[in-house]
């Protein structure tokens, strides 16, 4: 059973890509390794004041392993820097009610994170810092402390692409490209 275990960071609806990675940092090129790391350090720094820090001052990675969101996560720009910044910060999966199309696709193409959808509004049920476990194949999220769990939508064909590390790695592994 493939699982993701860790603390969750909870946000709400319409988290746009400017909040995930503000345009000021788009001078960083994700395929340059040190700039990839740097993108992680700025992940979610565009959130409104009042949110706890997602990445601690001076750190490059987040203490959180997952993000739970409401509707329309990743709306706005096509900047691939957005799923990359989250992935570089250490986020393994996002669980949202729905995604903006381009973010969802970029998350899969890059293999940076599993973009789970949930029929329930989990951002109302979990709070930042909760310890959770996601069963990837079983499409289920569990609150570690109490054992209560919620079904996620099956990822289907998406899961093996993310697991392989993105669309190119998957295509090679499965013989689509050489």
């Amino acid at each position: 059973m493939k699982t993701i275990l860790g603390k969750v960071y909870v946000v709400r609806d319409d988290i746009d890509t400017d909040q995930i990675i503000p345009a000021q940092y788009l001078n960083l090129v994700p395929t340059i390794p040190e700039e990839y790391i740097k993108l992680g350090s700025y992940a979610l720094c565009g959130l409104p004041d009042g949110y706890p820090p997602f990445v601690a001052q001076g750190a490059t990675r987040s203490d959180y392993a997952l993000v739970i969101a409401g509707r329309n996560f990743g709306c706005g720009s096509s900047r691939e820097h957005a799923p990359i910044a989250l992935g570089a910060a250490g986020i393994k999966a996002v669980v949202a009610e729905s995604y903006a199309r381009i973010f969802f696709r970029n998350a899969i193409s890059t293999g940076e994170l599993y973009p789970f959808e949930t029929p329930q509004r989990l951002c109302d049920l979990f709070k930042t810092g909760d310890e959770v476990e996601i069963d990837i194949d079983g499409a289920r999220i569990t609150r570690v402390q109490t054992g209560e769990h919620y079904r996620l939508k099956e990822l289907g064909a998406v899961a093996p692409v993310v697991e392989a590390g993105g669309i190119f790695a998957y295509a090679r592994k499965s013989g689509i490209i050489s």
Partner: protein, 432 residues
């Protein structure tokens, strides 16, 4: 089996007789657009995956238009443009519009059609969400990430899902105080910020075809602000005139079947539309200008792919003629062609450049994306405090123009100009 215009273009590009929403198909790409912000990462993916010696699939179909971070001291921004230059040289790419040279154009979504790279019936992908602009000329156009763009650079193909079509029909005649921006903000206000997620937004009806190509671009440009995969307006004589003036490349316009199935259809009467704003911090936050006159403003901004075209400046000039602005008013022409036209186009016997100077606007900035998306700290027009800005741009997200404390109100060039005169949100009819 009948198909919409979007489905027909995709079927053609996939070499299939018929496609339907939900089908996953491989399409051949006619144009791949990239810029300075996503180009270097796209090239990075291409070289990592296809090898340092790989060649792009088709040199003529790659168009590189640096536009985001051009007039800045930021060293990485300059390095990124240099990365594009090196790649263009290595690959021998003919379609590159290099900053600091006479070929420089400016904002890619205005520059691409200006350069004759947008043709009806074709498939365009770009590493920018506002690539949907180009549907205004009857093409399928959509934004993608660096990895997908790197894949296209190597193969000329992309696997995509055929979107459902949502149709928006605007009947009647557009009043002179209503602009394309008012039409699309109303639609987004009605369907919501994610109201067209994964869908094609097809705009049709006599009022849409009454609009100039530039105004149609404003509408399709903002399809993404409702989550749309593409925006599209079928080609007509205006489209052909625009395209033929800019390229002699052959193209074949594509039209949907009249009885094609659409997911939904909304019908508007243009006569009932009114000047409006989108209030902070989402583009669906619709309000009428005349009901928000209590909102005091610190700044007005006219620019970007949405609102920095020559038609946008002419509209603003008509309203500003003979008046003086009360708040700093920033003018950023989208492209060099627009900037030149500000000298040649006249309103009331004055060049636009003269008219804006007489009205007390800030000095006209060189063409680029500028403050539309904030950017490096020294970006022209960027917000740094708690400014309230009324702007012809496309996004009013938190922090979008730089500062998280500033508030952005999206509006048409006419409404921005009227509000610049009074210093608060103002319906342009007050000056018409």
């Amino acid at each position: 089996m009948t198909m919409t215009v979007t489905e027909k273009i995709l079927a053609k590009a996939a070499g299939m007789r018929h496609v339907q929403p939900g089908d996953n198909i491989w399409v051949g790409v006619d144009i791949l657009l990239t810029h300075d912000v996503c180009g270097p990462g796209t090239i990075g993916v291409f070289e990592r995956e296809f090898g340092a010696k790989a060649r792009v699939w088709n040199r003529d179909k790659v168009v590189i238009i640096p536009d985001h971070y051009i007039f800045t001291a930021d060293e990485k921004a300059h390095r990124n443009v240099d990365t594009l230059r090196t790649f263009v040289k290595e690959q021998g790419l003919p379609n590159f519009y290099d900053p600091g040279t006479p070929s420089y154009k400016g904002v890619c979504h205005v520059a691409l059609p200006e350069g004759g790279h947008v043709r009806p019936g074709e498939v365009i992908f770009g590493t920018d969400s506002h690539t949907c602009t180009h549907g205004a000329l009857g093409a399928f156009a959509s934004g993608i990430g660096n990895t997908d763009a790197g894949f296209i650079l190597g193969t000329g193909k992309l696997l995509i899902k055929v979107p459902k079509t949502m149709r928006f029909r605007v009947n009647g005649v557009v009043p002179d105080y209503v602009m394309a921006k008012d039409i699309i903000l109303r639609i987004i206000g009605d369907i919501g910020f994610d109201g067209a997620s994964y869908c094609a937004m097809e705009f049709t009806g006599p009022a849409i075809h009454q609009l100039s190509i530039e105004e149609r671009m404003t509408i399709c440009n903002m399809a993404i602000e409702a989550g749309g995969k593409n925006g599209i307006i079928e080609a007509d004589e205006k489209t052909f005139a625009y395209v033929r003036a800019r390229t002699d490349k052959p193209f074949e316009a594509v039209y949907g079947d009249p009885d094609a199935h659409v997911e939904s259809e909304r019908v508007y009467d243009a006569a009932t539309l009114e000047p409006c704003v989108a209030e902070p911090h989402v583009p669906s936050n619709y309000a009428l200008c005349r009901e928000r006159t209590d909102v005091q403003l610190d700044r007005a901004y006219i620019g970007s792919c949405t609102g920095g075209k020559i038609t946008d400046f002419i509209a603003a000039a008509r309203l500003l003629n003979g008046h003086t602005v009360r708040i700093p008013t920033f003018l950023v022409p989208a492209t060099a062609e627009v900037a030149e036209a500000l000298f040649t186009e006249q309103v009331g016997g004055k060049s636009l450049v003269q008219l804006f100077a007489d009205a007390g606007c800030e000095e006209i900035a060189p063409p680029s994306c500028a403050a539309c998306l904030g950017g490096p700290l020294d970006t022209y027009g960027r917000t740094h405090g708690n400014e309230a800005v009324i702007s012809t741009t496309n996004r009013n997200f938190l922090g979008r123009m730089g500062s998280k404390q500033s508030r952005i109100y999206l509006a048409s060039p006419l409404s921005v100009a009227a509000s610049a005169i009074t210093g608060h949100i103002t319906d342009p009819r007050e000056f018409m």
